[in-house]
Assembly symmetry: C2
């Protein structure tokens, strides 16, 4: 009997594939994907693939809403280029307002097209923003392409951690190395007073990471400017590059680069 992982095929021209996932939605996974990809692109050739079929946020975050990618002579989709990054999103294929209820077969077809029919050219890194949770998209990624590593995004509280653990567990089961965990919305500095506000109570992330021999790749503070940057289509790594949030993303990129 052949293993489903025998179907794995490299994406031509792409050296490393990093997936960004989260157990739970709304933890800032797309914000992390986008800012990580932009920070990496200052030192390497990077593509960003938005595979969050349920809520493709990256077109808006990258100021590329309602764009339609072109198809080249080889019938391959040509990614857009924004802020030095090559960019493709499932959001370019569907209308923003439309409800898509993806059922298994449609989903696999769309994913297959995504992995095979995009002309990325030469990339050092392809960063893939996955849907939250643990589902069919994750399994089909692990089966179809050789993923170099997974980054898990979570917020500090135990309710989010419970779901992050499931994501870690899933990647381990399909033999994708977990590069580490990004703690997003770690804390917030109150405007004016700069008092540290714990928006979400600190849970047991540190002891969990120790027990699993996993690293915390970054702690990203909450700042309304991050969300504003996402809304405006200019991520915080571009718009406030010297701020503490952007610096946390650059630090994350350095750690990813250091992994080789």
């Amino acid at each position: 009997m052949s293993s489903p992982f025998d179907q794995q095929k490299a994406i031509p021209g792409v050296k490393k594939i990093i997936v960004v996932s989260s157990g739970k939605g709304g933890v800032g996974k797309s914000t992390v994907s986008t800012n990580l990809a932009l920070a990496l692109s200052k030192k390497s050739k990077v593509g960003l693939l938005d595979a969050d079929i349920y809520g493709p946020s990256i077109p808006r975050m990258m100021g590329a809403i309602n764009q339609k990618p072109q198809v080249n002579a080889d019938q391959k989709i040509v990614p857009l280029t924004r802020l030095g990054l090559k960019l493709m999103s499932i959001g370019f294929l569907v209308e923003e307002g439309a409800a898509i209820v993806w059922r298994g077969p449609m989903l696999f077809k769309a994913m297959d097209q995504f992995f095979r029919d995009i002309d990325w050219g030469e990339l050092d890194y392809l960063v893939i923003d996955l849907p939250p949770g643990t589902g069919d998209v994750h399994l089909s990624i692990a089966q179809k392409i050789p993923v170099s590593g997974a980054i898990i995004v979570t917020t500090p509280q135990n309710i989010a951690l419970a779901d992050a653990k499931k994501a870690v567990d899933m990647w381990k089961r399909v033999n994708v190395p977990v590069l580490g965990v990004v703690e997003n919305m770690s804390y917030m500095l109150a405007p004016g007073t700069h008092e540290k506000i714990q928006l979400f109570p600190k849970g047991e992330l540190s002891s969990y990471l120790d027990s699993q021999k996993l690293v915390r790749l970054a702690e990203i503070p909450f700042n309304p400017s991050v969300s504003l940057g996402s809304e405006a289509g200019i991520p915080v790594v571009e718009s406030h590059a010297s701020g503490v949030e952007a610096q946390a993303f650059f630090g994350l990129a350095e750690r990813v680069l250091a992994l080789g």
Copy 2:
């Protein structure tokens, strides 16, 4: 050809079924479900069903983690009772740390059991916390049980609104009345200064609601105490009943009760 909606069957003893959904995860859907159900239960008989298969948070939020419901002589599952509420969660059937990759057939089986094999007794309201997004669980709910109405939870920014629109669109397509939208994490009052902090930038929710003739059922401020209550297993409606956040949830319950 018979319509899939011919499969709809009432849940015995249950008068009204309210589903709480969101386009995007992390907007506080389970927090809204839990506090709405608790607020409703002060004036009526209420059950809370956690059908968020990807991240069942309600056991933790209701202080009922690692509980195992009993099966009665009729082979029906008996919901737990907590804080005057009848409670059942997919989380009671699986280990918190385990990754479950639900595929279609498993999912439908679990959902069917959830709708048919629980002995709710007499309920005025069954509040169902759905997974975020628009997927198979939503369709199977709409097909299998007569839903009285859907409440959509969102946060203020346009990235969240884009996904909330998809949820509205989906419920309309399957003829489930949309009762309205709850705007969660509307703003935050800074501790000490009580300055209003716009955590997420205000998007175009108001004009969207007007255009769709939909109502904003509640605006819930962000307060770390809400998240703390969820972590501690005592929702804010119980722990800080007189606070502005709890009062917003009581207001939401009043509006739902007023719908009859």
